[in-house]
Symmetry: C2
Subunit: 719 residues, 2 copies
């Protein structure tokens, strides 16, 4: 177990520390006093607010839950007692942006009782220097055993008409492009923000998803999300756009209930990060810290992965997941593929897979994902089909043993793919056999998928039922020493701390949309503020050929990005699994730029957010784990950006070789995305760099510690 | 594989046999001409009727399906073609009422096409001498691939205001007492017919369940049910009580859809049995014949079972399933039963189980069911709790290894119990481990249960989703050589032919209701006409102590039955698994009567229905498999019944020892149920017996072939 505590201090002190009683309200401050939460009962109604350096960030906001067939837990409360404590530990994640994470907060628990029903509910606040977590806790008690949540009414009252980067609230997808607008504009812009998806269910014109990033007129950055979403339904936010108050809006189950609870139990944490510097939002580890420590005894088998895939060629339409075109529909238990005429476009065929293995192994990749390897793809989508895949039977032209053997002989593994099409009972029925097959052939990572509407019918991707399924899949995988990268699953909430074999999720609009019509240039400058709050995203960067017609003449999509921007994503979109998503033949045209993808690390000792503004730019420097090498990435969003960088994060007195991959002067994400410059030279901690990124552009820098001066003889200093 | 074909004849003949074209209608007759079906398109609408010996049994009735988001399959059809054939085979069931079953029918297929949509649908009729099966078939085709059924509109138009024995139509239970009424009275009597159940969902005041038994004013017996319910939702019937037309009413899924179909596919068979003698209804094997032959390669491990159970003491409230009273609710993953105070009433404790094993093994039983052996029973019910049981962890006072070893040492097995509480995902997740545990300890039969509302939420006990689950459980059990006896599952439709390890179901109001307030005396004279149409019922007969207060002073229920009636049930309620449900101490008071339970067989070479009238009486003689011995049972329903029996089913010239267990002269199901007489003597095929059964009473006769005259010396002839 690589996660352990470096330091641990837990003190229970009653009415001490930063807690003070003022006007019938309790206030608890963060360790350095930056953030303060005030809690009180307002005529029996729980109310809190949040201040940042004395400025109100969240105005008085109600807390409570509406129950089904029972008295609500909204009002009529008395305060039975309070407790406060301080916690300070530093822990080591199995993988991460940093090798050590400090978890330091002051805690306040309000022990509420509703005398009319003799029921108890606690509200727990953890106040960090970069934000607040609060949750409901329902102790074991006589009058509250089982209960059904009709709605959770947690308010987040904003102080004004902030700017927000939002996507429409939806029970089934968050694969939307972000919209930047004032809060007051969300309602009018909602419909335009909804684009087609295989499964989607919006609930309100002013409904948005978490994590929601906002910025106030006076420069406060506020982020609302949740942490440790376990055995509960996923929270969205609905805005009262007159009062500028957000309220929680849970995902319903098939009969409209929003939570099925048994005491003792608790809600996930509702998180509010606040900072006057956007970089602090990106650097915050609040979501992870609010999750439970690692529950896996042995994590030695979990490792970062850099991978390629037989995937982009299907996404672009160059080849197909399916094996034959002869079948109007498939019934797995009666079909004999051996008798079917191959369509000639099946991507996951032996020769093609070997070609990818050859290229990927030559360039040092760890794994190769192959989609479309298993039978059923002729008819996998859109019918809520129960027995859609069996997860164990390869197509006739995919020799699972030979291909795994071949990969292993080249020092690689194959990566498994389990598309469920949302048919979760079917997946659970086959899961043990599927994981066992993986063990047999030497796979240790699976990309799972949940495209389309859910089975059982009426359930949503983000409901309690499905959330339990996703975690079940991760736990069962851990028994088989398998890492999971779940696509279309619920957005992550830091559970990868507790189950670090959850190495990735999609749960947002990924690179694939660049082949489906393109994404906004600002997209990758928003995701670190939103989607990445909960955990790593398998964003699948590394596209070099932006003109998809070059891959498939029938696909006229354009990738709204420069090559330099694509390289930078390996730094800005943190993930322990990183794909080089493009085709080998596209990399072969730009092997000089491809070198960065080969060099860049996927696990880190340290990360420094150098510049950040949502929608505009994100610049981060990361130190590769166990080395003295650094990698820097900068992405520019909706407008061009010029960085003035200090490399003062480098060790003083040391010499480094830097290679800068930057947008060319004439680079343009639309018309000239392949224009880049590569500059190699010596840098030190005193180096100052001015680098320009065009809209949708960026730059990437590899910085290798020089251990042998002779090896860099002749290289000049970069100025 | 013990199921094989003795004789098989299949002939495809076009427009031959009993099929004739009359007035634009096709008529197909049964092999002996008793029953005829007429089919025609009436202005594009499929219509059929059924005649019995020239008398109309089902008037012109529409056929068709209403689809969701697609044109209906109700009208606008043309007849593309027809085909007819004859089938005659005799097959041997693995277990059954008879050792050979003849499957003899004339078949007619109407190949319909809807020109406006270019879609095809076939309607297939199989016409037997004792009834009709009809079903919809949807061939693979371009314009009908996936479709969703909004409702099936199969009509059964009655010729008058028949008498019916009915229970309320319900998506979740059929544990109701039957009501005898005219069809026109159903609507008014519906509400009174609904009694409380753990899960129930009625849909219409004139909704009733199948199998529905009716009788016309002129003495025709008509029975409507379904056969081979696979991958479809269970059919109920809704009555238009003005027109006296029943129409199919399917069970909806969580979003209200009634069937999720993928061509090629078919509906279950809709069955109509017709006879002018009620005994022919009971003797009909139409439901079994309409199911597919056995799909299990090896059935050598499947065997009939006579069993006792640690069960009635919990049902009556004498003891408890639960181990402790200290828990307001249970979370299985955090509870430690070892630290809990036992409640002292837990039935499944080592000493009590050994006591039952001692008694049951002494008296020749095969197995002992023990309920409440596994952790979780403190909190198993009524909360749609997800993780309600793990199916593998015994309570601290149940030594699973020692008790199985002890039973085996006495020549018995224990019978497993899997109560799911309707939490089906949880059951499927634990199923493999649960079956593996059974294999480990030597169990080969499981009683499963589905008490309470379903999980996933919104699904019903009788919907397509759950029907798929039940069959999954049976198929997975077969892989482990485990026999399944499913309680609260969908009513059976003859699937035990195809999967003979499905040895029983409850799916009706069983004996347990005699401890919950009692059932009507006619109940057991109706069940053979209704519930047993689809397959055996685990009715759990054999109650000797009718005054439940004697078992539990707090339970004032009375068993509405005489002891002789209870004995007769072992013959009249056919099942390959039969329980002796009462407590050992109650049997010990009547060991002379108990002798019949010890003697009676549970598998048969032959069965002769001697007398039958729904609601009034059922008398059957059955020949024990592989022997010359017979067992006769008669139950009287809502009034007393006197039989004049001829034993002419016995081999001529042979001598038999008969023991007659009959109601005493002063027997009364309410006040004197334990009054019985036992008469032993010699009988032959010429013997005629006059035997009286009181209301709720009956008689049972064991008839053993005499192989050694000396052994019966002194016994007199019975006259």
């Amino acid at each position: 177990m690589r996660t352990y505590y470096l330091k641990r201090l837990k003190t229970l002190v009653a009415c001490l520390l930063a807690v003070s009683m003022m006007a019938n309200a309790d206030t608890v401050k963060s360790p350095d006093g930056t953030i303060a939460v005030e809690f009180r009962l307002d005529d029996g109604i729980p109310v809190y607010n949040v201040t940042y350096k004395g400025r109100l960030a969240v105005k008085d906001s109600r807390l409570g839950l509406e129950l089904k067939n029972a008295e609500n837990l909204m009002d009529g409360f008395v305060l039975d007692g309070t407790s406060t404590s301080t916690f300070d530990e530093t822990w080591r994640p199995v993988w991460g942006e940093v090798s050590q994470i400090r978890n330091h907060y002051n805690e306040y628990v309000a022990q509420l009782r509703q005398p009319s029903t003799d029921r108890k509910m606690n509200i727990r606040f953890r106040v960090y220097d970069d934000g607040v977590g609060l949750r409901y806790e329902f102790p074991q008690q006589k009058n509250l055993v089982y209960f059904t949540i009709k709605e959770e009414h947690t308010q987040f009252a904003m102080t004004g008409d902030h700017t927000a980067w939002w996507i429409p609230g939806d029970y089934d997808t968050q694969e939307y492009d972000y919209t930047e607008s004032r809060l007051s504009e969300i309602g009018a812009m909602h419909d335009a923000a909804v684009t087609d998806n295989a499964s989607q269910t919006q609930f309100s014109k002013t409904g948005v998803q978490t994590s929601l990033q906002m910025k106030t007129a006076d420069g406060l950055y506020i982020n609302i999300h949740e942490a440790a979403l376990v055995d509960y339904s996923c929270m969205h936010l609905n805005l009262d756009d007159k009062a500028m108050v957000f309220e929680s809006w849970l995902t319903p189950d098939a009969v409209g209930d929003k939570g099925n609870m048994q005491t003792p139990c608790k809600s996930p944490w509702r998180t509010i990060e606040v900072a006057d510097d956007a970089r602090r939002i990106l650097a915050s580890k609040l979501t992870l810290n609010l999750n439970e420590p690692c529950k896996l005894e042995d994590t030695s088998w979990i490792h970062p992965v850099k991978y390629m895939g037989v995937w982009w060629e299907m996404i672009t339409g160059k080849s197909s997941w399916s094996y034959t075109n002869e079948l109007p529909s498939v019934k797995l238990d009666s079909i004999d593929y051996a008798t079917m005429k191959p369509n000639g476009t099946h991507g996951a065929n032996n020769a093609n897979v070997r070609r990818y293995i050859d290229f990927a192994s030559e360039h040092g990749f760890d794994q190769l994902l192959i989609e479309g390897w298993n039978i059923g793809w002729e008819d996998w989508f859109g019918h809520q089909k129960d027995y859609v895949f069996d997860f164990v039977t390869p197509y006739p032209d995919f020799d699972i043993k030979a291909l795994n053997d071949y990969a292993h002989s080249k020092g690689m593994k194959l990566m498994m793919h389990h598309e469920t099409s949302g048919s979760t009972r079917n997946y659970e029925r086959h899961m043990e056999a599927a994981y066992t097959l993986m063990n047999k052939y030497g796979y240790d990572a699976v990309k799972s998928g949940y495209v389309g509407n859910m089975l059982p019918k009426g359930e949503h991707h983000y409901g309690q039922w499905m959330n339990n399924h996703y975690l079940y899949a991760v736990k069962e995988a851990a028994k088989h020493h398998i890492m999971v990268n779940g696509h279309e699953a619920v957005r992550p909430t830091g559970l990868c701390r507790t189950y670090p074999n959850l190495v990735g999720n999609e749960s947002a609009r990924g690179t694939e949309y660049q082949a489906f019509g393109g994404s906004k240039t600002m997209h990758v400058t928003v995701l670190p503020f939103t989607r990445l709050k909960g955990g790593p995203m398998d964003y699948t960067p590394g596209i070099f050929e932006m003109d998809i017609e070059k891959i498939n003449p029938n696909n006229h999509s354009h990738v709204n990005s420069t090559i330099a921007n694509q390289l930078a994503l390996y730094c800005t979109m943190y993930s322990p699994i990183q794909m080089a998503a493009d085709l080998p033949e596209n990399y072969e045209k730009h092997m000089d730029a491809f070198q960065f993808i080969k060099d860049v690390a996927v696990d880190w000792d340290d990360s420094r957010y150098l510049e950040a503004e949502p929608g505009r730019y994100v610049t981060v420097a990361r130190k590769a784990k166990g080395t003295g090498n650094w990698f820097v990435g900068c992405v520019a969003g909706s407008e061009e950006h010029t960085s003035t960088l200090s490399l003062d994060f480098l060790d003083k007195g040391k010499k480094y070789v830097a290679t800068i991959y930057a947008d060319g002067k004439d680079a343009d994400y639309k018309t000239n995305p392949a224009s880049y410059t590569i500059t190699k030279g010596i840098v030190t901690s005193k180096t100052r760099l001015t680098l320009r990124a065009v809209e949708g552009g960026g730059y990437a820098i590899s910085i290798f510690e020089v251990k042998d001066d002779a090896a860099v003889k002749g290289l000049k200093k970069i100025k």
